[in-house]
Symmetry: C2
């Protein structure tokens, strides 16, 4: 049945390396697209060399490249460029995350590729984008997290600016690129024409600053680090229990009263410092030690169970070991086990986009070995013979 | 010209409130979709009441709802349900972020809506998703940031787990929902059928943990907070200058040697503690104070200019005021000014998805007043007369 194949009609040539591009390719592949990684012979995606390893295989690489095929092409060779252009004719999307100008230097820029295939969607993810004064500067996740403002609002009062522990500079750019590709594909259904999608990591950081920009524009006050609490709802924050931290989300006065009764501290309900949400927010400095004193007496599990019975929104602050064994996370198929021909079984994050017409179809194959599908792909799309491909290998083209 | 209208063929009925749903609707609207917010008469999206305000208007609401229209419908009224169902027949997408089960209680669950319009794409963004044991629990951004693991790896060694300063629990769910909608739309071009897209905030947090899961699965070591540095590249971190922080990204030994010469500390190049990247990573505790001593002597601007001339990747840690005036951010049209009929001009983040066929078309209209387009939309789609609509207003239906 066609509708069980997801985006399987979509063919993506993925030249990207490391994280932002490969994450985009992974989301498309998880949704059913046929994603063919194009890698440098003998070397491949830089992240194949990133630890930790399972035997010879990078766990980092394996967890970002499942569902893809790999071919090798040395794009500095004329013969490889010719093969690449012939593939471009047959594919829907080219995805790359080189520094701007690299594809043009190879003679494979968007203008050239769109001549070969006017229906092609060309998606470029880069640090600063393909236009503007910083376009050619090198960028890394930590650089754009710094420049984009999120580090300035992450962290505790009086403490240093803080990098988000996952590479959201790369990952948000990957998600916006994926949206751009799918939007362009929808537009192509109407117009018959492809286009270029240009997404910058820095732009993506600005786009996720959320209300920090509105607050600054309206009040003129530069948003600061306020730790884990909410700027205007209190207590809506982390608290420290006997054996770790948890989150409480007491969003209104009646939940507050319920909480005070539950912990046998009724006197706090009518304390003028804490009566309304605004009072509690204004007097946070006084309230914080009171909460600390209350919460230190029980464990996280005890608190969660008490708070949940009282209907007070809360949750643990899970470390990664807890996340990967959480019943909800498992029930949602968010940890998947993929069997790799060399590395064996590896558990990794699943796809969070649950589509009713293609249930549980996210994982079809493990990450590819370098060039594993060169022969298959070149014969499938270009009708090349095994001998021809062997010859190209000897020449260093593939 | 058709290809200048982006996704304008796409019609979205957006029932969502506050952040995750409205952010998704905003991305679709920025790409050209016709997004009609459906709000409760007299009240509207809760975030209309979130400060700061410009006069009577919430800056928070205005910055997340540009490019949308607003109609009011009291979905508890039978007549309003009937109108809603008639609209569903004409729309492509229904987007909601209620707690699971709410739409079913209203008699407007996916099963019912897909009977009315089998081509409908029904997108639900929720805290924990529409399946699994936590499905009905209340969730907020800080709760899923805590449960999803990102807080456990954000922050400084010895310090507390740290909330990401922007609501990435909501925003990443919004982005995955957007991808799901556009994927479903592409699938509909092939099959003629719609489907349900179910995205959970918690799942989305797991999906962005990146290599933390792979590291844990392979090594058995629970990833910890390591501040702003890279786990295996050094120095790739923030450093403190005379007047603030900056990022340095010295990714290999030759950049390290270049840096040491630039700061006249050649003796560090051959110091056995710092010779290779691995040495520097292993001896970070010794290296950190050396860097602190070096960087404290000049300002951020002085360092950036020196490091850039030497070709060493670096960047400032910008506060929000710096972000919104950064030359690259402005050149990329990432700060847009929108003129609102009541609040006047407000600057907000632009759309980071730059499409070559629809350049600079992101902002077409300001956020709507509550119910501003009720008459227009009901007459456009359902052919209702002004009198009919006036009557519905008096009855409290719209």
């Amino acid at each position: 049945m066609h509708d069980l194949r997801g985006l399987s009609g979509l063919k993506v040539l993925d030249l990207s390396r490391v994280l932002a591009g490969p994450y985009c390719g992974m989301v498309l592949a998880d949704l059913g697209a046929e994603v063919v990684k194009v890698e440098m012979p003998g070397v491949g995606d830089d992240s194949r060399a990133f630890g930790p390893f399972v035997g010879s295989e990078s766990a980092y690489f394996m967890s970002l490249n499942r569902n893809k095929e790999s071919i090798t092409l040395n794009l500095k060779e004329e013969k490889a460029k010719e093969i690449f252009l012939r593939l471009v004719e047959k594919f829907d999307v080219v995805l790359e995350n080189y520094r701007p100008g690299t594809m043009e230097k190879l003679g494979l820029g968007y203008d050239r590729l769109s001549q070969v295939n006017p229906r092609l969607i060309y998606a470029a993810t880069s640090g600063f984008g393909h236009t503007g004064p910083y376009s050619l500067k090198p960028a890394y996740d930590v650089v754009v997290q710094g420049m984009g403002g999120i580090m300035s609002i992450t962290g505790h009062p009086g403490g240093p600016p803080t990098r988000v522990g996952a590479s959201i500079g790369d990952i948000t750019a990957a998600l916006f690129t994926t949206i751009g590709i799918l939007a362009a594909l929808n537009m192509r259904h109407e117009t018959g024409k492809g286009q270029k999608v240009d997404v910058a990591m820095l732009d993506s950081q600005v786009a996720i600053l959320e209300n920090a920009i509105a607050r600054y524009e309206v009040t003129g006050q530069v948003p600061e680090r306020i730790g884990n609490r909410h700027p205007s709802i209190t207590p809506f924050t982390s608290v420290q229990a006997a054996d770790g931290y948890l989150i409480i989300a007491i969003g209104n006065d009646s939940l507050w009263a319920k909480f005070c009764r539950m912990v046998a501290r009724e006197e706090l309900i009518d304390d003028p410092r804490y009566r309304t949400n605004k009072d509690r927010t204004d007097n946070w400095d006084a309230l914080e030690p009171v909460l600390t004193e209350i919460f230190v007496n029980k464990t996280v599990d005890e608190w969660i169970s008490l708070l949940e019975s009282a209907g007070i929104p809360c949750g643990p602050i899970n470390t990664v070991d807890k996340v990967v064994s959480d019943p909800q996370v498992l029930a949602r198929n968010m940890i998947v086990e993929v069997e790799h021909p060399v590395a064996g079984k590896l558990r990794m994050a699943g796809c969070p986009i649950k589509l009713s017409a293609v249930p549980g179809r996210e994982i079809r194959r493990p990450a590819p070995l370098l060039g594993q599908h060169t022969t298959e792909v070149l014969s499938r799309y270009l009708g090349m013979s095994k001998d021809e491909i062997e010859h190209l290998k000897i020449q260093g083209v593939v």
